[in-house]
Amino acid sequence: MAQQLAMVIDAAKCIDCKGCVAACKVANDVPTGQWRNWIKPTVEEVPIPGLLKSKPKFQPGACMHCENPTCVDACPTGATYKDKETGEVVINNALCIGCGNCIPSCPYDARFRNEVTRKADKCNYCPERRAAGLPPACVDTCPTKARVFGDINDPESAAGILYRKNKDRLTRISARTDTKPNMFYVGDPGHGDWGGEAVVPASMVAMKQSAPLIKGIVGLSGLGVLAMLGRQLLVGSDAEHKEDSDA
């Protein structure tokens, strides 16, 4: 079986220390004010003093490397794709034109346009770190090890063990568009009503679903766009990009 890299998270263990968020920012040079991962607090009324309901109060998250990634459908150049071997949703920076289509297409708000690179950005499970034999930065640094990462199809990996052990009570974030995210929460994930609806341009959906010929054309146009991008990078002008900032 191919791999499926995933995160298995015990949200009840999260203490909202922001260690994972800080680690990710440093490891991935995420620009000031932008974030690849997060901890969502449960918006709750302060309870009546005394016994508290044992519910997760903080929910760690990031790109969920979905089974049915709507962002892939939204990408006009094929820059975003689901890797068949690892199950990751990958952004090929060389192909990304920064069009921003993929951003609303993610029901979990996991994508943003990197202010510096002007391309789509999101969690990529820290491939450089993995190549060096290190876990993703957020997982490595997590004090309570609420975040566990690995190949859930490998029954011997830490993620695989946790995945199997809790098989019956694993939950996913319930978004209005169910993309089958590969981020599994052990038991109650905390409040789950924030997952939105994927907004994919209709034209993109049509194209993605039509004949391979069209796909080929899309690919070629992607190449054209790439050429344009290359030219743009060579010429390089800040003023031209001003309108991007509100995307």
Binding site: A2, D16, A27, K84, T86, V90, N92, A131, T141
Partner: protein, 724 residues
């Protein structure tokens, strides 16, 4: 996931390569090949973003630190690094860092500086210190150092210089709690959180104010071992929200709660009589003493139902000895802090948890030795510290900053006119900032060694740039963490020191050299380390290999067959020494001063992104905590006409500040809260200057009657909406 697991997984990743959609086949594959592993060099160090010294691995590329990762072999921090630890880079590469020696040109606090060469700076520091010593005797010079591995050299310098006047940060933090436990058990314990089954946490916020390994172990104990956590806090903190039970206790009434718990345990004979008989002293007196403190009485005081108090007492006793009243660190709270914490210590005594799994642990052998020296004797000197005899049981090596400050201001009993400060920031951490400014103004010459222009540096005469923890060579340090370990760490330079920064040791050594005190600094840090590790000679090598050395010393049962270092040679429920000194031998409850009408009690607290005043100017952490707010209960806000986000003025008898109100049910109606470290005076802290409010400008400077520990929860403030 263990590293080994990970290697397997990543191997598969590499083997699988990255496919890519068919349509762009070849191109995609070529472009999006598996990223190469970074050309990192991994170097061990220990974090210095707070006092915990968590083990880390610095990833360095071309002399630049790219990332700080946890050292998985470092048990004290359980292989983690928090947000502050990750933000270490932003501290080292902070554009606001001090870059070269600066000499004040204008008035104090005016911010006019002149860059001077190091030679001139050292000459000047030595000359001014000589002058002070000659004019005011050696004790006419004060030395203050924060929690740092080089701080011991400041203590050494003070001693060879001849001054008894050394203060640390601790009297603004935890000394009253240490006093209370020391005077009950003969030493300060380490809570065995990991193995505990029931924990009552009062006056601590362990999921936000991170202490390793306690914060992490607490979650493991709760989630994996079924430990129950009961939190008493006037705020609904993250710790409170993750607890099994939370009570918004009325501030200042913790002692009533603890005495009532003791009342129930004793009254219902829930303790182990044999243990109490063999190990403790004073059960009869305690029994008599707590008779009056019924759960009903405590309920009136604390605002916690009597049934809950009685039930918690019974549950604690049922889980004993694997249960505890968590000792905590926030002891800088009231004028009877030591006695409040004695009540905590006494309940632990009744639970019989000392030196046993899930209870309070004795210090383990770490193996490091001190490096002794003979300080010279100065005939012309004062008899004692300037803060001596003003409180009965101060810690000599920590001093009392507030008592010292009052004494300096009053020249009582003698004048102090010189001040040397390293890596501590009393202007930013001590209550009543105006008094600290007055104290500064009284000084002939103030030298500050720091990496940043703190408010204390901002009011100094000479400011010397020191090296950050990732640039310098540190002596070894022994650490202990619950059952995790008794270990030794050291720090080697990870990168070349930036700018003209020098280590505090080198600075001390140079100044001493110009004052004929060179013989006391006639060694290198490497030589010093060798002396420290003379009984564990393998330690240095092991630290090179693992980043940490563990001493395989005993964890439990250290006190089997051993006597306690108290007068009765037992755990003193009733403290005989206090009795001899005229202090209450058993804690007597006095209700806190009633909050005056239309006022609020100002309380302080920590969060995981703030270390006192040293992280609010950190560019990474600033993104998480851009400013501070005043927590205000909605009912109080309504009666004051204040809406969430309004600008409000907070004023006390000593000062006033403005900040935004955060209207939240997470705080009691009679209490307000704000974070520390904001609104610095120093404009060279560009993110924290003029941002939010300074809590120490507003806090009044009362202190604990036993230790001189600042009591930070005794200030009442008025809050008004600021009309634009």
């Amino acid at each position: 996931m263990s590293r080994r697991d990970f290697f397997r997984a990543s191997g598969l990743v590499a083997a699988g390569a990255v496919g890519g959609p068919a349509l762009l086949g070849g191109l995609t594959k070529a472009r999006a090949a598996t990223p190469a592993a970074p050309a990192w060099e991994s170097k061990f160090s220990a974090c210095d973003m707070c006092f915990n010294k968590c083990g880390l691995i610095a990833q360095v590329e071309d002399g630049v630190i790219k990332k700080l990762d946890p050292n998985p072999k470092f048990l004290k921090s359980r292989g983690m690094l928090c947000a502050r630890g990750n933000a270490g880079l932003a501290q080292v590469y902070d554009p606001d860092r001090l870059k070269h020696p600066l000499l004040r040109k204008g008035e104090r606090g005016e911010g006019k500086w002149q860059r001077i060469p190091w030679d001139e700076a050292i000459d000047m520091a030595a000359q001014k210190m000589e002058e002070t010593r000659k004019k005011y005797t050696p004790c006419g010079h004060l030395f203050s150092a924060g929690s740092d591995l080089h701080s011991q050299f400041v203590g050494r310098f003070a001693e060879v210089y001849g001054s008894f006047n050394v203060t640390s940060h601790e009297s603004l933090c935890l000394v009253s709690g240490n006093r209370a436990f020391l005077d009950t058990y003969g030493e300060v314990p380490f809570p065995d959180v990991l193995n505990s089954k029931y924990i009552v946490m009062a006056g601590a916020n362990r999921f936000e104010a991170l202490v390793t390994p306690d914060s992490i172990d607490l979650m493991t104990a709760m989630r994996e071992h079924g430990c129950k956590l009961v939190t008493l806090d006037p705020r609904y903190t993250k710790t409170a929200s993750l607890s099994d039970e939370w009570y918004p206790i009325k501030p200042g009434t913790d002692m009533a709660f603890m005495l009532a718990v003791a009342h129930v345990i004793i009254g219902e004979k829930l303790y182990d009589p044999q243990w109490i008989e063999e190990k403790t002293y004073g059960i009869e007196q305690l029994t008599e003493h707590v008779r009056q403190y019924t759960p009903g009485f405590a309920a009136e005081e604390c605002g916690i139902p009597a049934e809950a108090i009685a039930r918690i007492a019974r549950e604690l006793a049922a889980a004993a000895p694997a249960s505890m009243i968590y000792p905590g660190r926030r002891t800088s709270d009231y004028e009877d802090s030591t006695q409040i914490r004695r009540a905590f210590a006494i309940v632990n005594g009744l639970l019989g948890n000392w030196d046993r799994p899930g209870g309070l642990l004795a210090a383990r052998a770490v193996g490091l030795k001190g490096v002794p020296y003979d300080a010279p004797w100065y005939d012309e000197n004062q008899e004692d510290r300037i803060d001596a005899d003003k409180v009965p049981m101060m810690f000599e090596h920590e001093g009392s900053f507030l008592v010292t400050r009052d004494s300096v201001l009053a020249d009582d009993p003698y004048p102090v006119r010189g001040w040397f400060i390293y890596k501590t920031n009393p202007m930013g951490t001590a209550p009543n900032r105006r008094k600290t400014i007055e104290m500064m103004n009284k000084m002939d010459f103030v030298t500050v060694v720091d990496i940043a222009m703190s408010d204390t540096a901002w009011y100094a005469d000479l400011v010397l740039p020191s090296q950050s923890y990732l640039e310098r060579l540190d002596p070894c340090s022994g650490l202990q963490g619950s059952v995790a370990c008794a270990c030794v760490v050291k720090r080697d330079p990870i990168i070349d020191p930036l700018y003209e920064s020098r280590s505090c040791f080198d600075i001390m050594k140079d100044i001493a050299g110009r004052m004929d005190l060179g013989e006391y600094f006639d060694f290198t840090i490497e030589e010093f380390r060798k002396k420290q590790t003379r009984e564990i000679p393998e330690a240095l090598e092991v630290m090179d290999r693992d980043g940490v050395y563990y001493n395989p010393s005993k964890v439990y049962g250290i006190y089997e067959g051993r006597i306690y270092k108290t007068l009765s040679k037992k755990i003193e429920l009733y403290n005989q020494r206090y009795e001899q000194m005229g202090l209450d031998p058993l804690p007597i409850y006095t209700p806190p001063t009633k909050v005056p009408k239309n006022q609020f009690r100002l309380v302080l607290g920590r969060n995981a992104m703030i270390t006192q005043s040293s992280t609010t100017n950190n560019a990474l952490l600033h993104q998480f905590i851009p400013s501070n707010t005043l927590w205000l209960n909605p009912d109080a806000a309504l009666s004051l006409g204040i809406k969430d986000g309004d600008l409000v003025e907070v004023s006390s008898s000593v000062g006033r500040q403005e900040l935004r109100a955060e209207v939240t049910k997470k705080i009691r109606k009679d209490t307000v809260f704000m974070l520390s470290g904001f609104n610095t005076l120093s404009t060279m802290q560009s993110l924290s200057h003029g941002n939010g409010a300074s809590i120490n400008e507003v806090l009044e400077d009362d202190y604990d009657a036993v230790t001189g520990n600042a009591s930070m929860h005794t200030t009442f403030v008025t809050v008004t909406r600021k009309v634009a």
